[in-house]
């Protein structure tokens, strides 16, 4: 029973609040008053049915007030509306209370106050001047009220439905489509049979032309007849199958699309609160503002809708606090006294656009420039040269506010960066520009449906993955040979990006076959470009995504799952995770993460080059690679020591003068280690004094070469002698 009561209160009082705000603007519209009276009357009745006494009392007085207003016995002014709104909020709060008695006890005073004030309204003499508006903090904020269904074009009835049900429907209808596809393929496969049958017929016909003994001919005629009959039946059945297949495809497609639409709600669902917000805030600030809402019937995905409330609220608060001027200021500028706020939703070019605009004072660019310099966000010379667009970008920075005082209304300017972040989480973006003729306009762009993701399908280590197209920079194919290396990292010079193997990132085995061309996906993260190498590209797909089971937690490198057209599950990769991992991989010097040239086996010897000069490392590396060895690099002694302990090296080539740990120390450590003591070591150094060489050999190096000896074959010779 209580559930029904709750629903009733939400709907009735929601409508009541909307109507009240409209009433304030329209004066004494009798239709509105009637509707308001009815709403309170119904609420009173519902409260009586479930036995919630305080609610009944409150609703009763409300009803009386409206009746009196209809008879013009009482005033309908801002103060009165405040009072009624206060009571309405209490009613909603009451209906949501878990344990009613407890709520009543805790809020006894507030309840009594509301009752008194409402009664006082009825008594025009006794009613005092509008009391200070009660602090909203003592009440839970009213939840998004649904706009009356009749206002939405085309929506006749609405129903409450558990979200899970709709998700289940979506999954099943997707599965139905997959099953339907099988039917199509089956029909196709029968064509082969059909052709064989025709061949059989042909064979028999040929046989007919030969001379045959009489009884054989009889049997042949029989066979031909059977074949012909069979063929006719087959033909008919195939026709029927094809027809049925067409209908199944059509129905499952429609079913799927309809279910997808159930995920969509009209934009009005997100803005129910805004009228109230603007009104209350306007009163607090002493500014008269009108809110225009456009595009209420525009459909928005459920998941996106939830995220809209916070950004929209913040933008409106900002506009009211910073943007719209007081009535006096406005008239002195020749603007209409009443400020105008507009929120509009529309679909365009496959995106959902929501604009929030005001006709206020716009941005104070001079103050903005000052603040940037003050905060050391930008040197003064640069600040002067920044264009308006560039300046505007700064307002989205965290902690940035162009007001000196923190106001309770709009906070400390943490609003806009949060707006950008919240929207970014669902693939949206927000931009700002001056409105004409004056004021500011924010434009939010969002994907129309969250759960439908346009993906590039790729194959990595033989498995199919999806990459969200919106997050990809570029894709390209290059021949193996065009990849060079810098500091041991594979590098594609013409695109200027480092490459990482996809299968390495995902912990999958390397494929045996290697194509001569590499398929590379360019990703971008925080201004860095990376290239991920995949096996091959499989084309674009529109995937209907599913959130993965919460028990799995957040899977590394994966955002959501989806089911492909053939019914197999697939995973959508998380571009941010991938980029972060790529960054980490590229910092790890030791990993051999670039494919060896075809023909390289595991029996290639591995050499560790330790030197703090990148040039030297490169030279030595290329030399050694040319000699047929695999090479890893380390940047100093400590790094080298960490690497050599992995036990994978046949030879160490080390410098002496290095930070953190020098070459002598490194050699000493290696020699002292029981597992590594016999590892061949070559020291290569600029120092060519006799004592250095002696010292090197003393600590245990097998050879000591100077960097000069790279120009002849000495180095190569020494290496070969040591490890072959």
């Amino acid at each position: 029973m209580m559930d029904l009561f709750r629903v009733e209160v939400e709907t009735q009082i929601g409508r009541l609040c909307d109507d009240l705000i409209r009433l304030e603007r329209s004066g004494n519209d009798p239709a509105l008053l009637e509707s308001l009276m009815r709403a309170s009357h119904s609420t009173k009745g519902a409260a009586r049915m479930v036995g919630v006494l305080p609610a009944e009392k409150l609703a009763h007085v409300m009803e009386d007030y409206f009746v009196a207003a209809q008879a013009s016995r009482v005033a309908v002014n801002a103060a009165a509306i405040d009072t009624v709104l206060f009571a309405a909020d209490l009613l909603i709060a009451m209906s949501k209370a878990e344990v009613l008695e407890k709520w009543e006890q805790e809020n006894a005073e507030t309840l009594a106050a509301a009752y008194e004030r409402l009664t006082a309204l009825m008594n025009p003499v006794a009613s005092p001047a509008a009391p200070a508006r009660p602090v909203a903090a003592s009440l839970p904020t009213p939840v998004t009220q649904p706009v009356t269904p009749a206002e939405i074009k085309g929506e006749s009835r609405t129903m409450r439905l558990a979200a899970d049900r709709l998700d289940a429907l979506l999954n099943l209808s997707g599965e139905a489509q997959v099953l339907g596809m099988w039917l199509t393929e089956f029909a196709q496969s029968l064509l082969e049979y059909k052709s064989k049958h025709a061949q059989l017929h042909g064979c028999l016909l040929q046989l007919e032309t030969k001379t045959l003994p009489a009884n054989a001919r009889v049997q042949l005629e029989q066979a031909l007849q059977l074949c012909s009959d069979g063929g006719r039946i087959l033909f008919e059945r195939l026709e029927a199958l094809n027809e049925h297949d067409r209908r199944v495809q059509s129905v499952t497609k429609q079913l799927f699309e309809e279910v997808l639409l159930t995920r969509m709600r009209p934009f009005s669902d997100a803005v129910g609160n805004l009228n109230r917000l603007v009104r209350d805030l306007g009163r607090d600030l002493g500014k008269e503002v009108e809110l225009q809402l456009q595009g209420l019937e525009v459909l928005v995905d459920r998941d996106i809708l939830e995220r809209l409330e916070s950004p929209l609220t913040q933008l409106l608060r900002n506009a009211l606090d910073h943007g719209i001027e007081t009535g006096l200021e406005r008239s002195s500028k020749g603007k209409p006294d009443q400020g105008n706020l507009r929120v509009q939703a529309r679909h365009s070019r496959g995106w959902l656009f929501i604009t929030v605009s005001d006709d206020g004072r716009g941005l104070d660019y001079a103050a903005l420039r000052e603040r940037l310099v003050e905060r050391n966000l930008c040197p003064p010379e640069v600040v002067e040269r920044l264009s308006q667009e560039e300046l505007i970008e700064f307002i989205f920075l965290p902690g940035f506010s162009s007001r000196t005082e923190v106001t309770e209304i709009s906070g400390r300017g943490v609003g806009l960066d949060l707006v950008r972040q919240t929207l970014g989480e669902v693939g949206g973006r927000v931009t700002c520009q001056p409105a004409s003729p004056y004021g500011l306009e924010f434009e939010i762009r969002l994907p129309i449906a969250l759960s439908i993701l346009q993906c590039l399908m790729v194959e990595i280590a033989g498995e199919v993955y999806g990459l969200p197209l919106a997050r990809l920079d570029r894709v390209f194919q290059v021949e193996h040979e065009r990849v060079t290396s810098v500091e041991g990292r594979p590098w594609l010079e013409e695109e200027n990006i480092a490459l990482v193997m996809g299968y390495n990132l995902l912990g999958l085995p390397a494929p045996e076959q290697r194509d001569p061309t590499l398929c590379i996906v360019g990703l971008r993260h925080n201004d860095q470009n990376f290239g991920m190498v995949v096996d091959r590209f499989l084309g674009k797909e529109k995937l209907v995504t599913q959130r993965l089971d919460s028990r799995l937690g957040k899977l590394q490198h994966v955002t959501v799952g989806a089911i492909l057209k053939d019914g197999t599950p697939t995973l959508v990769l998380d571009v941010d995770d991938l980029a972060r991992s790529m960054g980490r991989t590229l910092e790890d010097w030791r990993q051999e993460y670039f494919p060896r040239a075809a023909g390289g086996g595991d029996d290639r010897k591995r050499v560790l080059v330790v030197d703090d000069s990148i040039t030297v490392r490169e030279v030595e590396r290329n030399l050694l690679r040319g000699l047929g060895y695999d090479v890893d690099v380390a940047v100093d002694g400590m790094d080298g020591w960490n690497a050599v302990r992995s036990g994978r090296y046949s030879l160490v080539v080390s410098d002496i003068d290095m930070p953190r740990m020098d070459g002598f120390e490194l050699v000493r450590l290696i020699r002292a280690d029981p597992l590594l003591s016999s590892l061949p070591i070559i020291i290569v150094s600029y120092k060519d004094r006799e004592e250095d060489k002696v010292r090197g050999l003393e600590v245990g190096a097998d050879a000591y070469l100077t960097k000069a000896s790279f120009h002849d074959d000495k180095f190569a010779e020494t290496v070969r002698n040591l490890i072959g």
Binding site: G507, R551, Q556, V558, G567, L571
Partner: protein, 178 residues
């Protein structure tokens, strides 16, 4: 004759005495309780060469096979990956790796869809051997080392390990969320 008929009718319409009723009521009630207590239905299935039983209320479906999609950056030991079950992605786990570790799996002819106190899983088994009723009296204590069993019962001269829902659920949860 009429009297006899009347007597007969009287006989049939005679009300039983109260404690006679009471006696029978208690007897009948006791019998019903006994019948309920006595046995529970289990789905018996085979993993490698051992038999296990899951309370029938936990088993939702038995399927023949589904493509399993492995998860990246994870070992495939317990959590084998995801499957498409009626359009929804479900977690596929290997009970064999928990209950008969180290034994070669063999071809899994069946897939069980189970609901362990709200946690849904799909798991491959070598064979599903149907529902069996085991009487409480026939169930013996499992060895302490068997972490996931809460009983053992004999079926056609083979021992069936009866699985404990809570313990299994907890172990699976730990493995899944790793």
């Amino acid at each position: 004759m009429i009297d006899e008929a009347a007597d007969a009718t009287d006989l049939f319409q005679r009300q039983p005495e109260l404690d006679y009723l009471e006696q029978w009521r208690t007897t009948l009630a006791a019998q019903a309780e006994q019948a309920v207590e006595e046995s529970q239905r289990y789905l018996v299935f085979r993993l490698a060469d051992q038999l296990f039983g899951l309370p029938s209320s936990l088993v939702i479906e038995v399927l023949s096979s589904l493509t399993v999609r492995a998860l990246p950056n994870r070992s495939k030991e317990v959590v084998q990956g995801l499957v498409n079950l009626h359009g929804r992605l479900q977690i596929c786990v290997s009970l064999a790796s928990l209950l008969v570790p180290g034994q070669p799996a063999g071809v899994a002819k069946r897939l069980l869809v189970v609901n362990l106190q709200g946690d849904h899983y799909v798991t491959p088994v070598q064979d599903a051997l149907g529902m069996h009723r085991f009487k409480a009296a026939d169930i013996i204590q499992p060895p302490a080392s068997a972490r996931h069993l809460n009983g053992l019962c004999s079926l056609n001269e083979q021992m069936v390990g009866l699985l404990d829902c809570s313990s299994l659920r907890n172990t699976l949860r730990r493995n899944v969320s790793r």
